[in-house]
Symmetry: C2
Subunit: 312 residues, 2 copies
């Protein structure tokens, strides 16, 4: 059974795409099984419950050389710790290509769409494989989640086409209502410890050469006031993560889903100076107003990458 | 106009796929133009003449940041020298993934098929774009060339399906006769200087860590006696290439297309020791009989990679 898994700190796309791709590979003659790399966020259990699907198990330790399929990520820093020892045979992803290499020719499918779910929908169509209702619901949920129901600048026409196709197959009549229920579930953070809030949607990126390592968290919520009510705890958790993980900087973007704005927590002077230089935005009371830059992938990471790039 | 190009020392797939993908991208709304990275071999002019297509121009110097599309390669050692400064937006390839990275999400399409031409045929079908006769002829020629008309172990069912589909579109009634004419053109080496023969289908690969750099040439011919008649010149050219390019080793595989065998020229003791250790084959009179290992990609490179890999 080929293990299929998404990135660390899995979001709905990482989980849903692993489930859907494992089923598609299996139907196409490659027996596969979905796993996860870590705890679920608050949105994904809602999605799996609505779909009637069990939570995938945590990936067990794999022997060196084992074949694996990656979805929704490709960089080693966002994957299983011994990725370099494994044999990557399949990747379906919508992120920039990082340090991935393969030992032999592999199946790689990358496109600049808003969600891995959209690519999986295309794979079904290209292979003339029917879309099962449960897979339709998982792909649709992933797309609504990754694009914030088309609010994110990462959204493409293909993401919209996919949702228009998938909603009736999934039996979802009112997509807007379903999306709001997903976002409400995601925003119901309760008494989650600050460290867990920080790490829920969190990725470590290398920037520049020699590489600095930055931890970039995002909390997408319909209730930003709740998050800023816990600002002190979150800043302390960011400082702790920075020193524990030996990072050069940590940022936590609090994205207001409904108003499409991003106010980012900035724990120290190093981060404040980089935010000022890269985005031209000052930090006040440990918060930088990044305005409409709500996409880490399309707006935050590329700007930081440019800032840290060696000059030609 | 997005430049589209294949690898250094272009073969028929590198040229034909650049031409076909540039036309496909243009038809799909991204104006693109095919270029080449170096001189043609002896097969490709036959293919282009039969197709009534001009030889693409050599890629001009591109400004840093320019977008480019790669076909039939992805490693920097096999591409334009300033690849790291360019913005790769599209890759269609059937090789292992090397040191490629992208600054932003890109279109990447890799599959373990015998030829990039086969992937381009699939792209036409998936997009519901009609295949023009000239494109059909170019893709078919590339597939016959890369798979040695299905003799290579890299051949897949999809390569066979593609040729079966493309031959009637291209107006080629007898594929076997056409393939033999291609291979005869490729084997008509005349008084080509030995250095040029060595470099005609030649790639530099990094092996191990810290990386050794090896130059691996292949001459696929229906007339191996002609090549071995020039053995002394070729060995001298290999020694010269090794010292001029600062390589750790150079090998030149002479592949008998019709008998599907590989006798490889081994210029020195370093190479002989590696060939013995990696393939278990002795070298006599500077020639190692590698038997049916006729695919550099599938049989030569993986074995050397394994030989040079650090032990886990």
């Amino acid at each position: 059974m080929l293990p299929v898994f998404g990135h660390l700190n899995p979001d709905t796309d990482a989980i849903a795409s692993a489930l859907v791709y494992a089923r598609l590979l299996t139907r196409q003659g490659t027996p596969a099984r979905a796993y996860r790399l870590g705890d679920l966020n608050f949105e994904t259990p809602f999605v799996l419950r609505e779909a009637g699907i069990e939570v995938p198990e945590v990936l067990p330790q794999l022997e060196a050389g084992s074949p694996v399929a990656l979805v929704d990520h490709n960089e080693s820093a966002q994957s299983v710790s011994n990725l370099a020892d494994l044999t990557v045979t399949h990747v379906v992803d919508h992120h920039k290509l990082g340090d991935l290499t393969t030992v032999a020719p592999a199946y790689l499918r990358f496109e600049a769409v808003g969600c891995t779910g959209t690519l999986l929908w295309k794979l079904h169509r290209e292979a003339n494989v029917s879309v099962e209702p449960v897979d339709a619901r998982l792909m649709l949920s992933a797309i609504l989640s990754d694009t914030l129901h088309f609010r994110s600048p990462t959204t493409t026409q293909e993401d919209r086409d996919a949702v228009a196709f998938l909603a009736p197959v999934a039996g979802i009549g009112d997509v807007e209502t379903y999306a709001l229920a997903m976002f409400a579930a995601k925003s119901d953070l309760g008494d989650t410890p600050a460290e867990q809030l920080l790490k829920m949607d969190y990725k470590v990126f290398p920037f520049g050469d020699p590489a600095q390592r930055w931890g970039l968290g995002v909390i997408e919520t319909t209730n930003p006031a709740y998050v800023f009510g816990r600002q002190g705890e979150l800043l302390a958790a960011m400082q702790a993560a920075k020193s524990q993980d030996g990072l050069d900087g940590v940022l936590l973007s609090v994205v207001d889903i409904l108003n499409e704005t991003n106010r980012t927590l900035v724990p120290g002077d190093v981060e404040a100076a980089v935010v000022q230089a890269a985005f031209g935005v000052d930090t006040r009371d440990s918060v930088a107003d990044l305005g409409e830059r709500i996409s880490r992938k399309k707006q935050i990471v590329p700007t930081l990458e440019k800032h840290f790039a060696p000059q030609h």
